[in-house]
Symmetry: C2
Amino acid sequence: METDLFHAIADPTRRAILVLIATQAMTPNALAEHFDSSRQAVSKHIKVLTESQLVTQAKQGREIYYQLNPKKMRELDQWVSQFKALWEDRFDQLDQLLLTLKPNQQ
Amino acid sequence: METDLFHAIADPTRRAILVLIATQAMTPNALAEHFDSSRQAVSKHIKVLTESQLVTQAKQGREIYYQLNPKKMRELDQWVSQFKALWEDRFDQLDQLLLTLKPNQQ
DNA sequence: TACATACGCAATCAAATGGTTGCACAAAAT
DNA sequence: ATTTTGTGCAACCATTTGATTGCGTATGTA
């Protein structure tokens, strides 16, 4: 089962997990302490993140440490970058001009 | 009704719409020609995008032109940027510090 | 050995999602 | 004035989602 990257980051809990494990690997139990929902619910989120390859795992004894996979996060950055030119200053001015010529109605 | 930015881009059709209208405003009918699903299905996607403020509209006669709102897309870029230090080659202590100080965003 | 801990997996359920069809209405065309 | 076109909205439906509960298994501990 592979999960789409954009689907994986659509959930607020999953995004919070990503921030938490970005700098330090964490176990499901440790992660679950940061949320109101149960460990199993958090584990299901972790599974989605793992299937999307945003997260990698490393087993240590009976604990499993999950960690962010920056390479996959980079894919998101690359997708966004295709729009980057649109919010640069010179294009903002063009937007203003278009708005003046075609004012929004309704 | 306001839709979350990350939820808005979770759907492949909606992402395709964003790419199509990034450089040129388009009407729902024109957009629907690019997809297999019905006009109404596309219109529902447009509604989600509009509610998330990723898309703005401009009425012209009986046609409604939809266009990308770069400022909102920039928010996505800013969220991703908190992880940027993790995949950059230069990974000095300053990057670490900035990442740690940055408040958690969802 | 016996028990506790950390975790994944399966079943279940309410809510959300994405799609379709039908309809209403305003603008344009005839 | 009547018809066609462009669009949004509501109702409906199958599928997916996020959460909970219960269970099985492997690892650590008394």
